[in-house]
Symmetry: C2
Subunit: 357 residues, 2 copies
């Protein structure tokens, strides 16, 4: 094992994030690029007395299939695949981010991705209440997107992953406790004035169970009570499609107007996937000061301190959310300059920091 | 797609070997080294309207797991994995041979491999009556074992795979028809004098349905009617363990004596896996003159003209075989020099050719 941090990462995923125990059946989604981490995970899973299979989540393979399949095939979810998800205890996804080229899906028609996303929705539903974790293994493609050398990128990723998670969790609990007593969140910033009801919802601290690295407080807003407009200045890459400068206007919780400076066609197609795609599934507040730079990777970017993000689509049931959708597309906004967050009318974040900091 | 032969290979596997049809659920076992073939298969499966998942069969990952797992874990087969096999329609195995290092399992204790082989036996049983194919994608490791450059090895493999299979099948049918009327096979050669009853059994022509490339006539001998001794001069590599110069003595179908010039410990451990491991599951006669050199790869070597092979372990039900086992280990013997095969006392192969040639 070349890099001991890979083994440490695997230990954190297996023991801390997913709490794998004897006889658990673990589904691992991986790519060839994440090979070293897969080997380390297998070693840890053996130690835990668990069983596993590794499913190849390679984008190039997927693309080849999507381009030759007809709509009848694309819109069917094979029961064998659904059963595999339903019957697993734990899912570890290294495949979502660790591809060799995050642009592989860029020439798959949005309509095709939309049909597939709809067909695959029962898979998301099936894992919602299981132990699952999305993480990443540093790849050349990720380093390239981050505009960093591979060595520097590895240092960046592992310093975000290998840390004292229980201590960080207690720091984030200050915000989540305050949020739990809040009915209405009002966010103001550049081209942004939006009010979201979180009345009765249960905000959660994300400290590594579902995402690694993590570091955010998130909640699913009341689906019908989002009003106003928001401008997401930071770009995101979703299935090879870059969405940049997205603007959404909400009325009664529904997206009534949408545009983007880049990737508008894709964004609009995704908003049409199903009824839930047009409503918010998440409001998140980034808290991780360790993630000290924007790397064009949603898993890390949305955890950055001084950012907020909202996702259209699937809500988190654990926070009281009820929105169902095949999609969950996060979009990020920097709050550093002139951004203010109000909880029930009282500012809790302004001038680049929380009021208790 | 760099090499058009990869796509042609995929077409042969999907359409000719496995006869994949709309809505089939296809399980693909693959390694990173077989990536190009996986992409081509995905493309063909999409065209056929089938669904698939790719399971990573990487040896390094498997080894890491085996080395940290305790015996309780190793001896359990998770029902989720068995169900996945049972519920699939087609299995395509590119993983068995296309690894980056066929010696990865060489330092896993034979006892561990023995326990795992026993635990995994229901998987073999589950696929026996399905459409399945074992093939290979040319890798550097395979070229190295064959003592060939990669380019020359690719030419060798594809000339063995891309051919007129129906025509070759009719050529092999001459031998299988004769064999179907035969009760007793007597094989004589260097350190070899063995008699096998095939009375009532149904010899099969292997022309690409289960192995690609293929080219052999095979049958499962009567389990209790094998007498004499046999010397397998050609080496085989099984899970990283090389067995060379194996000698087996049979009485009433049972191996009563075994030795090997190399890999004896591994051979003896495998013979202990279960009761069926000590009996013959197969007698095969290689017919493929296109495979014109020995490349230390059982999938190809056993199809070579002028060789025979026998396997201890699992029999082929389709030929009337009843032997059950978790293992199926083929061993090969060259017949070119002084080898004679008798069918019911009549020589049908001698002096390096079949009597009708």
């Amino acid at each position: 094992m070349a890099d001991p941090r890979v083994l440490e990462h695997a230990r954190i995923i297996v023991n801390y994030s997913c709490k794998v125990k004897r006889n658990d059946f673990v589904l691992i989604f991986a790519t060839a690029e994440a090979h070293d981490l897969v080997v380390a995970l297998a070693s840890e899973l053996g130690r835990a007395g668990a069983h596993y299979v590794v499913l190849d989540a390679d984008d190039q393979t997927r693309r080849a299939y999507l381009l030759t399949s007809d709509e009848e095939t694309l819109s069917a979810l094979p029961p064998q695949q659904l059963n595999l998800f339903k019957d697993s205890d734990v899912l570890i996804n290294l495949g979502a981010f660790s591809s060799s080229n995050n642009q592989e899906m860029s020439d798959v028609p949005p309509r095709t991705l939309q049909v597939v996303a709809g067909a695959m929705r029962p898979l998301s539903d099936a894992i919602m209440n299981k132990r699952w974790n999305i993480t990443l293994h540093p790849t050349m493609a990720l380093a390239q997107d981050a505009k960093m050398s591979y060595e520097a990128y590895c240092d960046f990723v592992y310093s975000a992953i290998i840390r004292d998670w229980p201590k960080f969790e207690s720091e984030m609990r200050v915000l989540s406790d305050k949020m739990a007593r809040t009915k209405s969140v009002h966010i103001v910033g550049r081209d942004t004035d939006i009010t979201l009801s979180i009345d009765g919802r249960r905000p959660k601290v994300s400290s590594g169970d579902h995402n690694m690295p993590s570091g955010e407080v998130f909640v699913s807003p009341v689906e019908t009570k989002v009003e106003g407009q928001v401008y997401f200045d930071l770009p995101i890459i979703e299935l090879g499609h870059e969405i940049k400068g997205a603007r959404l206007t909400f009325h009664n919780g529904l997206v009534v107007k949408s545009s983007a400076e880049q990737g508008e066609e894709y964004l609009k197609a995704m908003l049409q996937v199903d009824e839930g795609a047009k409503r918010l599934g998440e409001l998140g507040i980034g808290m991780n000061k360790g993630i000290n730079r924007f790397t064009r990777n949603i898993l890390l970017d949305e955890k950055m301190a001084d950012t907020i993000h909202m996702a259209v689509g699937r809500a988190y049931e654990e926070t009281g959310g009820t929105n169902k959708s095949a999609i969950h597309i996060d979009m990020i906004k920097s709050m550093k300059e002139n951004g203010v967050i109000y909880f029930d009318g009282e500012p809790i974040y302004k001038d680049g920091k929380f009021v208790w900091e």
